[in-house]
């Protein structure tokens, strides 16, 4: 009897040992590619995980996604420093960052052959040479607190009204939201990319009204939540995301129009997981991923085949007509002048 028990425990021990011995083999059998991709983090990431990462991993059990949070320019910096040994495979970045990275030769171009869904995009969202692809867009807007401002602002000029003194925020020019506002300003003040003088003159007048110059979405969100500001130039998706959390905030595209802001995905040149990276990018452009992303993050789809839910279609900018109506800046020219503008902004506006 006692021998029987002994034999049993020996057998159990042997089984456990065999289990341990086989475990590495089991892992090899299910060998997973780890694909490292960046995203913008924060409130956006919650939606992106649900809309894209989780369904993608379900559809491709052999690929494991590792998310790292990177802002656009941090991403370009990282691409530059990992050039000789690529660790992060796919970068999420806007036009400004992606075209900089393309110019520095850090991007692996794609084609409709490798990314079949590329053909379904609105033509506006294809870039020359397909160096990267655009997976979402939003519009630069004026966000406001509807409890404090009953009538939606009609024009960007409303920001200059004395009653809002000390109750507005303007994003710093070194952020994408700040840059978009500056580009709108060029339009409203009759300035151009080559002659920004009137825009800076207008900013000098606005200066005393500005409570602060935030750099990140989270800071603007906090300012609206705490009620420190009642109006600020922002983006459509972020305003809706904050509204969905119960904060009194609404947005409007004033009569001067808005800037088309896009988010892109760029594959790092020299990636060791090119096949998985292509699959990921293609998945992000698919109808189901784009629709889910619009539902969770309020970012508009770039895939022309997406049909939005009726209430969502009312909320977010969408469709070919809207895309056409938004201003498409000459990003190449803007990029070339951005550093000069920021330098001047540092001295004349925020100082």
């Amino acid at each position: 009897m006692s021998f029987g028990r002994f034999a049993l425990s020996i057998r159990i021990a042997a089984l456990i040992l065999i289990g341990f011995a086989l475990a590495p083999f089991a892992q090899i059998c299910r060998a997973q590619t780890e694909l490292v991709v960046t995203d913008y983090g924060g409130a956006f990431e919650e939606g992106w995980k649900k809309a894209v990462i989780e369904p993608f991993e379900k559809a491709h059990p052999d690929i494991k996604i590792k998310l790292v949070q990177k802002l656009v320019f941090e991403s370009v910096a990282l691409m530059r420093s990992q050039k000789s040994d690529v660790k992060v495979d796919v970068f999420m970045m806007d036009e400004v960052g992606a075209s900089q990275a393309t110019a520095e030769g850090l991007v692996q171009p794609i084609t409709p052959k490798t990314i079949p869904h590329l053909n379904e995009l609105y033509p506006e969202f294809r870039v020359p040479g397909d160096s990267f692809c655009k997976f979402m867009f939003d519009a630069s807007v004026i966000a406001y607190n509807p409890q404090e401002i009953k009538q939606p602002p009609q024009s960007y000029k409303d920001l200059w009204e004395p009653k809002y003194k000390g109750r507005i925020a303007i994003n710093n020019l070194d952020s994408t939201t700040g840059l978009s506002f500056f580009l709108v300003l060029l339009k409203t003040e009759g300035a151009t990319v080559d002659n920004v003088e009137p825009a800076f003159a207008a900013m000098k007048q606005l200066k005393p009204s500005i409570l602060t110059f935030p750099e990140q979405h989270a800071q603007l969100a906090q300012l609206f939540t705490q009620g420190d500001i009642v109006m600020a130039p922002w983006t459509s998706d972020r305003a809706l995301l904050l509204a969905s959390k119960g904060v009194p905030i609404a947005y409007t595209i004033p009569k001067e129009g808005g800037i088309l802001q896009e988010g892109g995905l760029a594959i790092a040149k020299g990636t060791k997981h090119l096949e998985a990276a292509l699959k990921y990018v293609d998945f992000a452009l698919s109808v189901e991923a784009q629709l889910a992303n619009a539902r969770y993050t309020f970012l508009s789809p770039t895939n022309s085949k997406v049909v939005l839910d009726a209430d969502l279609a009312k909320k977010i900018p969408n469709g070919q007509a809207t895309v056409k109506a938004l201003t498409h800046p000459d990003w190449k020219k803007v990029n070339e002048r951005r550093a000069q503008w920021i330098d001047r902004w540092n001295r004349e506006v925020t100082q």
Binding site: A77, R80, Q100, L211, F213, Q226, I342, N346
Partner: protein, 299 residues
């Protein structure tokens, strides 16, 4: 800092009597030297190299050897003003920490037993929370619709909110809170080191409180004052999170200017050059104050 130095020296002397060749101290500092060499000097050399390169917007870094990044910083009144402003901010924070920290450190050094343990824990406690979290706490207190302004307004002491945030005032308040423990701990060490019999002797000779403080406590705690000031001053100069979150773009300090160049404009060479200017400034001030502390100890 200086107290431990004295102790180290005594330790060294003992060591030398038992180990005449004095190889043991070298042996002891080797791991540390290796670590610093690898992870501190290496990156610094890389940074120095980058600061001598050029940058062209839209093209990236150009591999050249040039000093133009340094001249761009030093000959531009805007950037010089940033450097001076940062030093002034550091000096203000240090002075406030000293004034607020001295009485606290004094009572800490006089406390005994459980009272000292509790007081010590209270002073250390803020260090257990990250600076980011503490800064967010200050944002909630200092904002226009924050706790302080709302309280003052509900008491009808003020009509409209007082601007406590988005300017240098808020940054000073928050930095003093963040850095105060370093000052108190440095002062406490120096104050504890004062021989209590000196006080008895002074009192026997008829000296009173203020005189005892000015003639005994203050002079003997000066090394602690210097090391506390060095810790707080360098901490305030290199602070990044607090100025960014509390003041935003309106306040330009060295750390935020470096960040903007390196991360937003991708001009690493210029960013590296500014970082080096800051490093050299801090090093010069550090060496000067350590020499001052040495002289104070000898006097």
């Amino acid at each position: 800092m200086t107290v431990s130095e004295t102790k180290n020296e005594q330790g060294l002397k003992q060591e030398q009597t038992t180990n005449p060749r004095g190889t043991l101290p070298w042996f002891l500092i080797t791991p540390n030297l290796l670590l610093i060499g690898l992870f501190m000097l290496g990156p610094l050399l890389l940074l120095a190299r980058i600061s001598l390169e050029g940058y062209q917007s839209g093209q990236g870094i150009i591999e050249t050897w040039q000093l133009s990044n340094y001249s761009k910083f030093l000959f531009d009144p805007f950037y010089r003003q940033v450097l001076v402003g940062t030093l002034i901010l550091g000096a203000e924070v240090t002075a406030l920490c000293l004034v607020l920290g001295y009485p606290l450190a004094y009572s800490l050094s006089r406390a005994r037993g459980l009272k000292r343990a509790v007081l010590y824990f209270c002073i250390l406690m803020p260090l257990l929370t990250s600076t980011v979290v503490r800064t967010f706490g200050w944002m909630i207190l200092l904002a226009n619709n924050g706790f302080i302004n709302k309280t003052l307004m509900s008491l009808h002491l003020i009509e409209s909110p007082v601007r406590l945030m988005y300017n240098v005032t808020g940054v000073i308040v928050a930095l003093v809170e963040v850095l105060l423990p370093f000052m108190v701990l440095a002062l406490d060490t120096a104050l504890l080191n004062i021989d209590l019999s000196l006080y008895e002797a002074a009192r026997n000779l008829g000296a009173r409180g203020p005189r005892i403080f000015l003639r005994i406590t203050l002079p003997l705690s000066l090394p602690g004052v210097v090391s506390g000031c060095v810790l707080v001053f360098t901490g305030a100069l290199s602070a990044f999170v607090t100025p960014t979150l509390i003041a935003g773009a309106r306040l330009k300090v060295m750390s935020t200017v470096i960040y903007q160049q390196a991360m937003a404009l991708l001009d690493w060479p210029f960013g590296a050059a500014i970082a080096f200017v800051m490093l050299v400034t801090i090093a010069v001030l550090l060496v000067a104050s350590l020499q001052l502390s040495e002289r104070l100890r000898d006097a």
